[in-house]
Symmetry: C2
Subunit: 302 residues, 2 copies
Amino acid sequence: MPEPVVLHTADRMRECVREWRASGQSVALVPTMGNLHAGHLSLAGLARSEADRVVATIFVNPTQFGAGEDFEAYPRTLDEDLAMLSAAGTVDAVFVPEMSEIYPFGAGEAVRVSMPALSRELCGASRPGHFDGVASVVCRLLNVATPDVLVLGLKDYQQLILVERMVADLGIGVRVVSGPTMREPDGLAISSRNRYLTDDERSRAPALYAALNKVVVALRDGAGDYRALQQAAEDELRGAGFEPDYVEVRCAADLARPNGRQPPDELVVLAAVLLGKARLIDNLHVRGAEPARIQLRRSENS
Amino acid sequence: MPEPVVLHTADRMRECVREWRASGQSVALVPTMGNLHAGHLSLAGLARSEADRVVATIFVNPTQFGAGEDFEAYPRTLDEDLAMLSAAGTVDAVFVPEMSEIYPFGAGEAVRVSMPALSRELCGASRPGHFDGVASVVCRLLNVATPDVLVLGLKDYQQLILVERMVADLGIGVRVVSGPTMREPDGLAISSRNRYLTDDERSRAPALYAALNKVVVALRDGAGDYRALQQAAEDELRGAGFEPDYVEVRCAADLARPNGRQPPDELVVLAAVLLGKARLIDNLHVRGAEPARIQLRRSENS
């Protein structure tokens, strides 16, 4: 496969997709903020299997960062990113827009996509406006690239559910496909923000995954007191040096609060924690988290 | 031309457009809230000249009505509307969606398009959320029908400017085309809300157009004190039995407040008034309002 073509303007992106469509080819989009890692590459590989052509986008979106968050510090590693995509050979085009291509009227006075109540829960509770910002940029990328398939990672699970909601509610003609969370050997979910961790923090970080696994195991074993499970997990995380934002058991389909009548395999456990300068998130579906016991044991031994 | 096909679901609408596209035909969309009149028919005729296929939509959009506004009372005249479109022969399909096709998660918890500051000025000042509601439904209609051309009327000028802004800012791949305001012989802009007027109110209604014309004439004659012009027009309207909401001179291109250095022909005069139960709006571009003097005289004589 030849080198992916790098496109910097919305017009060029549209033109590129128009040419593919004219020859009857389908298109998959993988939106990223760059600083690519195995998680992104896995999504690009998934995209490859879902459409004839794959577009990755690299854009650090200001509207999804709150005041005091890490917009300025967010790692920008375009050369490495392009080399990685080139080596992977799964991507036909990389869309790397300037700010003015995405927010032609400025990010401050931009038309925004305003998401419903779920956007203010979980991560949204401590990151007000975050998911409106995510929706605002994803909506624009979908309008510019008009893909048949949108590929998102399960690691940002609330983002996935909310983008699916946006697509369904706004009637956007795209199919959303999700790819699994990639993990380090010790269980830590791979994330661009892991690079904010000191060595010491990095060695403690897998306790997040371990704590989620413990909740999953308890749910499988029939535990039904979600509050107690959440509290125990938060306490454990606090003991391990994290500052927990939340640990929550939710319905996997729509992130509604479970009423206790859901079978465990319809649940998902989500958490966000602060560890040093890093805000880490992770989640595990009760169904599909196999082999949770083994992973838990491994994490505890690590 | 055969009868227009009437489509009730988003899926059928998509399918219809897909078939047209497969045979290389372009599509124009004319969104309406029904209760069609000469203004809508004029837009459908314009659409006909802009694309191979024309879709009109009829949907009374709840999210653009505020509390206490006329959502319930808004005239719904589907049979007459379809007969009118059929007779005009300019439309290939009429999309008449149920509420759940446009707001599958309900109108209250809907993903909204949130518009910038201009949406809270002029009509937006007394109709909070109105233009977010307009943007929210137009965005959905564009996603479902994916037209090449969107046709809107100049009568709702702030709406036109804001929808153009949404299209440009969200990167929606559609061309916006606008058609002129249709008027009764006495100058009153044709509107579905004119039917709220009593006979007496109807006879006084053309004074709105006359007042706008007077401002246009003054601007052409070099008047530069916009505040004084606006105040005089409001006083005149009040004297004629209207309750003026606003009369404003703005830049035609983007509805910014003029700084006094714009040549008159880059200006537009906009007004909204209450007359009995009806909220009437109208506007005149200084350029293109010809023959303003004649029209003014005629209105004064009527």
